[in-house]
């Protein structure tokens, strides 16, 4: 068996690392979480000259300290056997900052290959990088690549293959003019990064102690540097009496000296530093302007939803026709085979109606994620955090909390995960509490169905109102909370604003593909199971298999709980059952309705007509429909979200509180909306 080379891709955020990674692996990815933490881990494969490379995409980070989960995870992964060679992807157009991580990686002692990405931008700007001098100074190969134009890919893998075998670093040639050292060793021939004498003396002293206490420890220099920095992780793992040597944390000095060396590198290798990058500043002049920033943002959001609805609904029409044909085809075959009516009912009313109904929303979700991907990849998303920072501050949230909230429009689960970027647990709790109020894409089917049923041409307006209501609920909650706990805004926004670029089709395609596949796999599992359970609840009663739903378990549960929802105009057992089913996944409310009112293809015009007829015979009109949508917007998020919430908060009590709070808000708001709507 041939040996595979494990390659870890690492780099700063916005350096094009994922684009480069995707260029090798395509959509053939294995996405999972790092053990114990909710940081995404992507793995893929590529081959070059008969060699197999297993590629790991590490999180985008600026430094290798252990301040954030991402940094800790990356560091542990690189130090483990999971990685043989590190590919450090850097944005060549902003080397100065990117090289900081590079110096830290080189110190780790594993083979590092530098992938100089975005060389095309360097050229465009009239800059030149001395590709001969850079490896001399760093002691590692530097390969120019372009992830977007897919150039240099083979050369990079070639370098990886060679560097794995040839562990010796390239010769280091430093000049350091005017630097007089009295340190006993000349480290300049061994290490790229050599500190000032004071630090080097201390490193040597710690290495001496390490040699005695942990003789087997590999790369003692790196451990010594980390001990000198008083790195919490390393000091815990290798307790050592170093207080005499490291009387304080030398991290600041070490960072400063690394940047001094980087400045030296830049001055030697960057030729013709032309300042021709005004386009981003020109765009930012408008997009982050004090007066225009917010309106532009709102217009962009409105545009996103317009696309999701109009174009999405147009495509949805074709899906529905297909589903209708499929359903009648299956029905025909089942009758032809003389299938048991119970089984036919399970397949047609349970599975096809349930899962199929969800599949028709694929176009809406596809377009929403496409739009979000474009915003993300173009660099606009980071500006949103800046534009929103002041408003968020009033709510006692940091501008950074806007990102989870924004992601909440896509799916609550990743949004809740994104709250991890917040530093303070108080901030995190607040963000997790309000994020589910952001209307996720799974709630869209409910709005689309009920608003087009009851509001016809104004359907889009109603949907927009619901989104705004969700935002308002989140804002009010956050505001009240910040008043109660007296928390002041943190005002510690710290976010890179990457250069604007035209979005990369490949990156976006893979991003959207992942999301759509995720949605489909949920439709195939959770929603499938929920559909079957719903079918059982509705087709079985105390008397066994029943054809009349009013004799089923479902109606018993619904009838019991219905009076509670009567003030909101939702006191119908069918609606209660659909809402309960919706906890499995919100879009199930739609499929449950189709099962409960036994309407196939509920989203088609004819299906809607029969639904409206069924509902109005119960006295359920537009006001009730609106109240239902409001309730769906605000009540308990889906099971996956609850599970994520629990994992992120690490507290069942807090999770339970959030669920109760959301139920209360949903009830109060739908009662209010119902009674206001009745007036009109």
């Amino acid at each position: 068996m041939k040996h595979t080379i494990n390659v870890g891709f690492i780099g700063n955020p916005n350096c094009g690392k994922t684009t480069l990674f995707n260029a090798y692996t395509g959509a053939n990815l294995k996405v999972a979480n790092w053990p114990g933490v909710t940081v995404e881990k992507k793995e893929g494969q590529t081959t070059y000259e008969g060699e197999t490379f297993k590629l790991i995409d590490l999180p985008g980070i600026y430094s290798l300290s252990s301040y954030t989960m991402e940094e800790t995870v990356s560091r542990q992964c690189i130090l483990s056997d999971e990685v043989d060679v590190i590919v450090n992807v850097v944005d060549a157009s902003c080397l100065e900052r990117n090289l900081y991580l590079t110096l830290q990686l080189i110190e780790l002692g594993k083979p590092v290959v530098l992938a100089l990405n975005m060389m095309d931008i360097v050229e465009e700007r009239g800059m030149e990088i001395d590709l001969h001098r850079l490896p001399e100074m760093l002691g590692i190969p530097a390969i120019p690549v372009s992830a977007r134009k897919k150039t240099g890919l083979s050369i990079l893998m070639h370098a990886v293959a060679h560097h794995k075998i040839n562990r010796r670093q390239s010769p280091l040639i430093h000049h350091h003019p005017g630097l007089q050292s009295s340190h006993v060793h000349n480290h300049h021939s061994e290490y790229a990064m050599v500190y000032e004498d004071d630090i080097e003396d201390r490193i040597d002293s710690i290495i001496t102690v390490l040699n005695k206490k942990y003789p087997e420890l590999p790369n003692k220099r790196w451990h010594a540097i980390k001990l000198l920095e008083k790195d919490p992780d390393i000091t815990r793992r290798y307790p050592l009496e170093t207080d005499a040597i490291a009387d304080r944390s030398y991290e600041k000095d070490i960072i400063n000296q690394k940047y001094n060396f980087i400045e030296e590198i830049i001055s030697e290798i960057l030729v013709n530093k032309a300042e021709k990058e005004a386009s981003t500043d020109k765009i930012d002049h408008y997009l982050t302007s004090r007066w225009l920033g917010l309106p532009i943002f709102l217009v962009i959001m409105a545009l996103v939803f317009f696309l999701t609805f109009t174009v999405g609904d147009w495509l949805k029409g074709y899906f529905e026709i297909g589903l209708e044909k499929f359903s009648s085809f299956v029905a025909g075959r089942l009758t032809a085979m003389h299938t048991d009516p119970m089984l036919s009912s399970l397949i047609l009313d349970g599975i096809i109606a349930g899962v199929g109904g969800i599949l028709t929303f694929l176009p809406n979700i596809f377009i929403l994620f496409l739009a979000l991907a474009v915003l993300e990849d173009s660099g606009y998303m980071a500006r949103v955090a800046f534009v929103m920072d002041d408003i968020m501050s009033h709510l006692g949230l940091s501008g950074r909390a806007f990102l989870p909230l924004l992601l909440g429009f896509g799916c609550t689960v990743p949004a809740l995960m994104a709250s991890r970027t917040l530093e303070h647990s108080k901030d995190r709790f607040k963000t997790i509490l309000v994020t589910p109020f952001m209307s996720c894409s799974a709630r869209l089917p409910i709005y689309v169905l009920f608003s087009s049923m009851f509001f016809g041409r104004n359907a889009m307006l109603v949907c927009y109102f619901l989104y705004l209501l969700g935002i308002a609920a989140a804002i009010a909650t956050a505001y009240i909370l910040s008043k109660i706990d007296g928390s002041r805004a943190d005002h510690a926004l710290l976010m890179e604003l990457p250069e604007y670029k035209s979005p990369n089709a490949h990156t976006i395609a893979i991003y959207v593909w992942e999301k759509v596949m995720d949605y489909l796999s949920r439709a195939g599992t959770v929603i499938f199971i929920a559909s079957v359970i719903m079918w059982v609840i509705l087709n079985f009663g105390p008397a066994g298999y029943v054809t009349d739903i009013s004799q089923s378990f479902g109606s018993l549960i619904g009838k019991f709980a219905a009076p509670l929802l009567k003030p909101a105009g939702l006191g119908y057992w069918q609606i209660v059952v659909a809402l309960i089913a919706g906890i499995a996944a919100k879009e199930v409310v739609v499929s449950s309705c189709s099962v409960l009112f036994s309407i196939q293809n509920i989203t088609s015009p004819s299906g809607m007509d029969s639904m409206v007829a069924a509902l109005s015979s119960l006295g359920f009109g537009a006001a009730n429909g609106l109240a239902l949508m409001v309730f769906c917007l605000l009540y308990v998020p889906c099971t996956a979200s609850i599970a994520t919430m629990h994992r992120e908060l690490g507290s069942a009590k807090k999770t339970f509180f959030i669920i109760l709070y959301q139920l209360a808000v949903a009830w109060v708001m739908s009662v209010i909306v119902y009674h206001i709507a009745l007036i009109f």
Binding site: S63, R97, I255, Y259, S289, S393, G399, L494, E496
Partner: protein
Amino acid sequence: MTLKQGKNNQTYQVLSIDIEQKLERRLEALGLTQGTCITILNNDKKGALTAKFRGTRFALGRRIADHIKVKEVPCS
């Protein structure tokens, strides 16, 4: 003066960062070390500002901007 008091399109040199250590280290790791030149891009709002240092644009919250001491010097 503090960075927050700075003007748009002006370049300043960082004298010190007086903020909790964790945040200070993060800023330093991003390249905002003592003596770094920082150009303010947009300081129109009361809150956060945008600035550029070491070739990268950043959005900095008001508390961060208030705690970075700078001086006005010609920076290369």
